[in-house]
């Protein structure tokens, strides 16, 4: 990985020199410095750093206004506040302004380096989960179908879950918890559910309860296997699954979550199965 590029915002040349020293000693690249709102806009636009260290008290502006200015240029730039002031109210405001970390002056070297490491690692970890999770879920559904029913499925469509949609009849929901939280959901018609349950059971299920029990366990296995695969790729994900909750009824609508999730439609010999999964970036736990 190339060196993390950092801009230091502070109005004291002593503080800048002090922070720069620590950062450079640890292999970070300090690509600019700024002391006013104008300088912040200029330096950030020109250098596009990965991270900014931000003083709170600045002439004619403050750290929060500067943070907003940075995020209006590029919302992916991480900001860590380094300030002599630190109380609940200002920390709350910092969080509301999408600050990723807060360190009190005088700066403790270890604390600063740890904070940067955490902020950047969390970002990379989420990106890596985002790139690999859906393949793991799709693979797990395919594998589960194959092992439990000896049949194959084909994915015919894949898209982002952006607007609410109507359930086909039966929805099974599994909450996922770990370094990033999310959920997996399987939706299918009651007819598909009955046929799939019969195939898994190798005989006709006796009632709706039995169908739901089998489908719940099926979904539980799919989500559990997918999360195990992901945890093996990177144990920092620490994913665990909650037990399944099943809903069914007439014209039940499923709300699109507030974070990005993906849907894949699988064509199976029993009918269509909708698979939906996603993880929330979440807030950084930095306090």
């Amino acid at each position: 990985m190339s060196a993390i590029r950092i801009v230091i915002v502070d109005d004291s040349s002593f503080s800048i020199a002090f922070i720069r020293n620590i950062l450079e000693e640890h292999g970070f690249e300090v690509v600019g410095e700024a002391g006013t709102l104008e300088e912040v806009k200029e330096v950030i636009s020109a250098t596009r750093p990965d991270l900014v260290t931000m003083d709170m008290t600045l002439p004619g502006t403050d750290g929060l206004e500067c943070t907003r200015a940075i995020h209006s240029i590029d919302k992916n730039i991480k900001v860590i506040v380094i300030s002599s002031m630190m109380d609940d109210e200002i920390v709350k405001q910092a969080k509301e302004n999408k600050v990723s970390g807060y360190i009190q002056k005088p700066v403790d070297e270890d604390e600063l380096i740890t904070a940067i490491g955490r902020v950047m690692a969390s970002d990379e970890l989420y990106l890596s989960l985002k790139t690999e999770y859906f393949a793991a879920f799709k693979e797990s559904l395919m594998d589960g179908m194959n092992k439990m029913t000896k049949t194959l499925l084909t994915y015919k469509k894949e898209y982002h879950f952006e607007t609410e949609q109507e359930s086909e009849g039966l929805t099974i929901i599994i909450g996922i918890i770990g370094r990033f939280s999310g959920r997996m959901l399987i939706d299918l018609s009651t007819e598909t559910a009955r046929k799939l349950a019969a195939a898994i059971l190798r005989k006709e299920p006796k009632d709706t309860n039995e169908i739901i029990a089998i489908l719940g366990e099926f979904t539980n296995i799919i989500s559990g296997n997918a999360c195990s695969v992901l945890n093996k790729k990177n144990k920092a994900y620490g994913l665990r699954v909650a037990p399944p909750t099943t809903l069914y009824g007439e014209k039940v609508r499923i709300s699109a979550p507030r974070y990005a999730t993906t849907i894949a439609l699988a064509e199976t010999v029993y009918g269509e199965i909708l698979l939906n999964a996603g993880f929330q970036r979440g807030e950084d736990n930095w306090m």
Binding site: G175, I177, A242, T245, Y248, V252, S255
Partner: protein, 153 residues
């Protein structure tokens, strides 16, 4: 299922709802329900793992859900249970469960929660994840809200 699991949810409700602008918060009753629940309205599911494993399912009728969303948005009128209102209810379930998790943590019970899943309709049957379900019925400014808790041992 142990009734001690009820209190953190009650406490969370009575502390979070006033912060969102609700004046009167009341507990109606607590009962033990069967695994299957029939509902009309909005259902929000939050998964739980850790020292306790299970699900918390919040239920509220559609009118109530719109009123809750409206109060949460400083009285903005809500005519449809639209994306904004769905998002508000999802956030409510998240806040209530996260708050309860913090209270559990204070008692030495460490739990983590999933993101909420929101579903709604006129005729929903919910099959909870454990055979016994604790149902807490509450009101916030006369709006009935149900918290159904299904924990495994």
């Amino acid at each position: 299922m142990d009734v001690k699991y009820v209190n953190p949810f009650l406490e969370a409700f009575t502390s979070v709802m006033p912060q969102l602008g609700f004046q009167n918060v009341n507990k109606t009753n607590v009962s033990v329900e069967k695994q299957e629940i029939k509902k009309a309205g909005v259902v929000i599911i939050v998964g739980i793992v850790g020292a306790i494993k299970g699900n918390v399912v919040y239920c509220i009728d559609l009118e109530g859900a719109k009123n809750v969303a409206s109060t949460m948005m400083m009285g903005m009128p809500i005519n449809e249970f639209d994306e904004m209102a769905q998002s508000a209810l999802s956030e409510l379930a998240n806040m209530l469960t996260a708050n309860a998790a913090t209270i559990f943590f204070g008692q030495g019970i460490h739990i983590d929660i999933s993101t909420p899943a929101v579903l709604f309709g006129d005729d929903i049957t919910i099959k909870m994840s454990s055979s016994q379900v604790l149902c807490i019925r509450l009101t916030a400014d006369q709006i009935p809200i149900e918290i159904n808790i299904a924990f495994e041992h």
